[in-house]
């Protein structure tokens, strides 16, 4: 993944952050991401992110679970190994509802969590560049892809950032450990964007 240069602005208040995001977008700078210590409601909308369709995936996993449960129980109890239980019908749908329900929930939950981890690239030993250590504590960290460095720095200061700095970072993730200073994969033809 490309190594790029970023201007990083830190905000203390989420109230200031909202206006700042709007101003940055209005000014036409390329907003890379905003890192916050907790979910700030409405920030995704302000940044212009589209809604996640994770819940749709969850629905699909859920009906997969329903189908798997119903079809396999039907096959097992009516054709593979029909058991005569008190002369009752082999196709005993009401008795299968509990397991069908449980498998629906199980498939939906497991599938959604795995999809979530895949989409966000979350797994043990995955390391990402952290623009600020306190982004998981009390700072709201806005990261802008670098154009004119001085101009963006000034702009961020004007709209209320308490601390502004410039960092060169790889945008993706790599395998590494958080207790060791490891460099991201270095590419031969790495391009640092100047202006």
């Amino acid at each position: 993944m490309a190594v790029k240069k970023f201007v990083v602005g830190c905000f203390d208040e989420e109230g200031v952050l909202f206006d700042a995001v709007k101003k940055v977008r209005k000014a036409g700078y390329k907003l890379h991401d905003v890192y916050t210590p907790f979910p700030v409601h409405g920030l995704d909308g302000a940044m212009g992110l589209r809604d996640t369709s994770l819940h749709t995936a969850g629905f699909i996993y859920g009906i997969t679970g329903t189908t798997v449960a119903l079809s396999s129980i039907t096959w097992i109890l009516t054709s593979d190994w029909p058991l005569n239980i008190g002369g009752k019908p082999h196709f005993a749908l009401p008795a299968w509802i509990p397991i069908t329900f449980e498998l629906t929930v199980l498939f939906a939950a497991v599938g959604m969590v795995l999809t979530f981890c895949y989409l966000c690239q979350l797994a043990p030993f995955v390391k990402k560049h952290h623009f600020h250590e306190r982004a998981t504590d009390d700072l709201f960290v806005m990261v802008i892809e670098c154009g004119d460095e001085a101009e963006i720095t000034n702009f961020l200061k004007n709209i209320g950032a308490s601390d502004v700095n410039t960092q060169v970072a790889e945008t993706g993730w790599w395998f590494g450990r958080y207790d060791k200073e490891e460099k991201a994969i270095e590419y031969k033809n790495e391009t640092v964007l100047h202006n």
């Binding site: 996640t52 819940h55 397991i99 449980e102 958080y178």
Partner: protein, 482 residues
């Protein structure tokens, strides 16, 4: 800012003037400091109990479960009582984290993490009982349906006992995923503060590389909401299915349609009592009184008096229906085996009534709801009562069945059956002590999320703003009339 509306009638949920950094400091402190002497004492006692339990189980496997003193008539004694009791306790966590999330109850944020942890540990403890009750425990994998070389011989999908296997394993998995996905951001907080190498490494591993990106938060919110939506019917289904183990049989005293709602209410009742027991200790030992406030305790006591009363109504309904149904066996089971205090196990019925129905009624008084000593005492009483509820249901129904020649009253548990029960206490508290030391006991990110609405120093401001806008509203509408 889409801050959630919260009634000004509700007291502040975070006490003391906190800012975001202070919240992190307060909650991460136990992880970064050495555990107190009290913690070590509790931990060592728990591990000792756990080891005793392991030895009891070792004997069960070696000599068979005959050493539990069970007999042909009383085939389910302490063992299944303990199973249902632990599963019941495991219900409060998901109720708090899922149902209260859907109901938008802000107070859940202070207690949800610990309650979910309690759920997971309680379900692990519950699972031990049916597994070791199998006797030949190496046969346990056969309860899972998979293509096999025995025919292939499948499990019976029409059996409530198999529904139980599915319900409890699904419940455990989903609760664990829900809990862990909520923990990711908080592990990242610990990781980013860590100075020690091993801590940075471990929490780096546990946090899965969480950064706090807005897109990730957006997905995280969606995930939490859907998992809450899935867990809500799930938590109701689990104890419903446990109750089917009894209700679908034809034993007098078990064969009742009221069992599912009655079991679910009882489960929530005992679960909240256990949450109270644990949190009253946790807030004291870890000095988290600002986050787990009297407000939280009062709200949970309200849930206890509500569910306790529902359970009480269920008991009375059972008695009424046994009389109204005119089934002589059922009338005998209720009037003679249970209501008659002089019958061999009649005392347990009345103990259950006193603990579960009568004693929680003291929580109608606000003063007692907000009293920590009373709450702690009551939380133990409720769980004793709920243990006896399961004992009453199981033992008083089966010790005198249809055939008087096989009636049995000589059932008393052996030390090994009690030891197994104590062992699960050891397992539960060992897990909980480790959790309290190494995990953020309160959801840090969620507390920060509600801080500006429910924090002590912010709440006042909101209440004033609300009043002001009311006055302004009145003023504006008043002028319209002129």
């Amino acid at each position: 800012m889409a801050l959630k509306y919260e009634s000004h009638v509700r007291g502040p949920l975070v006490e003391g003037a906190k800012d975001y950094h202070q919240v992190t400091e307060d909650i991460v402190r136990p992880i970064e400091t050495n555990p107190s002497r009290l913690w070590w004492m509790g931990f060592i006692i728990s591990v000792a109990l756990l080891l005793f339990g392991v030895y009891s189980i070792y004997r069960d496997v070696t000599y068979g479960i005959g050493q539990w003193n069970l007999n042909k008539t009383i085939g389910w004694g302490w063992d299944i009582t303990n199973f249902v009791w632990w599963v019941g306790i495991g219900h409060a966590g998901t109720l708090i984290s899922a149902i209260l999330l859907l109901f938008r109850q802000g107070w859940r944020t202070g207690v949800n993490r610990a309650a979910e942890a309690m759920t997971i540990f309680a379900v692990i403890c519950a699972g031990q009982f049916p597994i070791w009750h199998m006797g030949r425990v190496w046969m346990a994998p056969f309860v899972m349906p998979y293509p096999n070389t025995r025919g292939p011989l499948w499990v019976n999908f029409n059996s409530p006992l198999l529904w139980d296997v599915f319900a409890i394993s699904t419940y455990f998995t989903v609760s664990l995923l829900f809990w862990y996905s909520g923990l990711l951001p908080d592990f990242a907080t610990v990781r980013d503060r860590a100075k020690l190498k091993w801590r940075k490494f471990t929490y780096g591993l546990l946090s899965f590389g969480w950064t706090g990106s807005t897109k990730h938060w957006q997905r995280h919110e969606s995930l939490s909401l859907v998992l809450a939506g899935l867990s809500t019917p799930l938590v109701l289904s689990v104890h419903t299915i446990v109750s089917f183990d009894f209700a679908t049989s034809v034993i007098p005293g078990w064969h009742t349609t009221i069992f599912p709602p009655y079991f679910v209410a009882g489960a929530i009742f005992s679960g909240f009592a256990m949450v109270q027991t644990l949190l009253l200790i946790v807030r004291k030992v870890l000095k988290l009184e600002d986050y787990i406030t009297i407000e939280h305790i009062e709200v949970m006591n309200k849930v206890i008096v509500l569910t306790g009363s529902i359970v009480g109504i269920a008991y009375l309904t059972e008695l009424f229906i046994s009389w109204y149904g005119r089934n002589p066996y059922e009338i005998y089971a209720f009037n003679e085996n249970r209501l008659n205090i002089f019958s061999p196990y009649g005392w347990s019925y009345w103990l259950m009534m006193a603990c579960n129905v009568i004693s929680p009624q003291i929580f109608w008084f606000r003063k007692l709801r907000r009293n920590i000593v009373v709450t702690f005492f009551m939380s133990i009483i409720v769980n004793v009562g709920m243990w006896f509820e399961r004992f009453v249901i199981i033992v008083t129904s089966i010790y005198r069945d249809y055939l008087p020649s096989s009636w049995s009253t000589y059932y008393t548990p052996t030390i090994w059956e009690i030891g197994f029960y104590l062992g699960t206490f050891g397992l539960f508290f060992t897990c909980f002590f480790l959790f309290a030391k190494f995990f953020p006991v309160i959801a840090i990110a969620e507390i920060k999320h509600i801080l500006k609405r429910s924090g002590d120093n912010y709440k006042q401001h909101w209440v004033e703003a609300e009043k002001e806008s009311l006055e302004k509203f009145y003023h504006d509408t008043h002028q319209d009339h002129h």
